[in-house]
Amino acid sequence: MYMYLPIALTSVNYLVVVGLGLAVGLLSGLFGVGGGFLMTPLLMMIGIPPTIAAATDANQIVAASASGCFSHWRLGNVDIKMGLLLTLGGFAGGAVGVQVIKALLAAGGADFLIKMTYVVMLGVVGIFMFFESLSALKKQKAGTTKEHHAPKAEKKGGFFASLPMQTHFEKSGVTHSALVPLVLGVFVGVLAAIMGVGGGFIMVPVMIYMLRMPMHVVVGTGLFQVLFTCIEVTILQAYSNHTVDFFLALLLLIGSVFGAQIGTALGKKLHGDQLKILLAIIVLVVTVKIVLELVLEPSILLSYAGGH
């Protein structure tokens, strides 16, 4: 029942860890997010040190997103052109974000900024997505919508349309300047690095609402971007901080690769707006949990130094 983890230096019940992988992998396949914002706190709850939890989770997400991305790619749901531009921007943004954190850590008060960014981003994304998809679902019930994103695509114009390098993204069925996903990628990358997460839960709404991509392509493309981000994070963390616990990652990925497949299959049965409202609810639950953690007195006021 127990397995010792050589880097985390602790022993865990492997059934619990495989179960966690399965649950978070399912969400990953369903929504196109890495699930780091859920997995890292869950791992900390079973006694994994925070820095190792975050780095190892990135390793696990490589497996889950590779599995999910492959399935979505076969279904024709991955916009590779869009994904590459977002990823490229994300890498640049990540590098900027890491420097921002370094400067803040030196100046003090980093923890406050990290927590506040987390709460505000999760809160805004969750509330917006919740009400948007709720109204879409209501309309759908009334029988007035077809594909609700189609008419919105025509509204765009003005500034976005005036940018150079206009490109048509066939898979997504949208036309944007190549600069738009690149810049949005940078923006998400900066936030993700500050929060210490992969950024899937910000990237997905960005693709839905700012790039106007259809939900199913958003999920596939999101997994594509998450895959590359997490490959980079895993190698960097392993190389410079020695914080990747390969055994822990193995246990998690045994669960998550299957979870991701189940999620992908389940996702096909659900409407885009139903998916959005589910993700919104999960994001809001996590937001409430973080707010409670901030407001209620912790049971222990000390923790080992290292990482955030």
Binding site: Y4, S71, I235, V257, K268, I300, A305
Partner: protein
Amino acid sequence: MKRTVMTVLKQWAAVAVAAAAMIALPAAAQAALTCQVNPTKVPITLSYHGAKLTISGQSALNDELVLKISTPPKDAAMKYKGKAAGLFWMKKGTMEFKGVPQVYLVSSTAKLNLILSDAERQQYQLGYDAMGNAVKVEDSKGQPVERKWFDEFIRFKEKEMVYNIQEGTITRKHGENGNAFEVVMDWPYQAAPGVYNVEVFAVNGGKVVDKAATTFEVERTGLIAALSKMAVDQAALYGIMAVAIAMMAGFAVGVIFKKGGGSH
């Protein structure tokens, strides 16, 4: 004359040896304090979840016993939380706990403060209050902090299972020349690999009258040892391996699902 002096000296020497033997005799009759630990090497294998550790030995008839398992004192940096803006609990900074052992497990035949004087407990670092008097806790500016932070540190370590004081838990078997004692303990898996000091103190009249010590080692073996070595010595290769295996596992399952569940 010379011979007489020599004879007297010899006689005195003989008396002195006999006296010394007589003084030493009662102690020899009562078994001297001994201590062994079994096993002396605790291997960390893949399925390691702590270990059963037996510390046993002999002691004099009327002595109380105190057992301490610890690591040499080191400095520990800890993040601490406090209220920011009067509302939010945040990590506010780092504290330095100077001279704390990483592991500190004490058990005894009776309450420490009943069998040992404060001075002795202080000298041998037996009890949290004795440790607290020796430890310095400073904030990041090098200023001493309130005592409550040391208590919080103890709570943190106790929750981690690596600090513990169990008074009155050592049991003994009475024999003719002394007592045999044995402590069977669950060694916590949370304790890091390393060498641990085991000390047994015989206590009488509020003082430590005898001391025995040994060590044991908790060490990584096999795959656990190989992997943790690789993570540090060949960090880049380790990272690439971790990513490659994860990707292969992901794609492989993707392919299997395609074959198995073609109807999706």
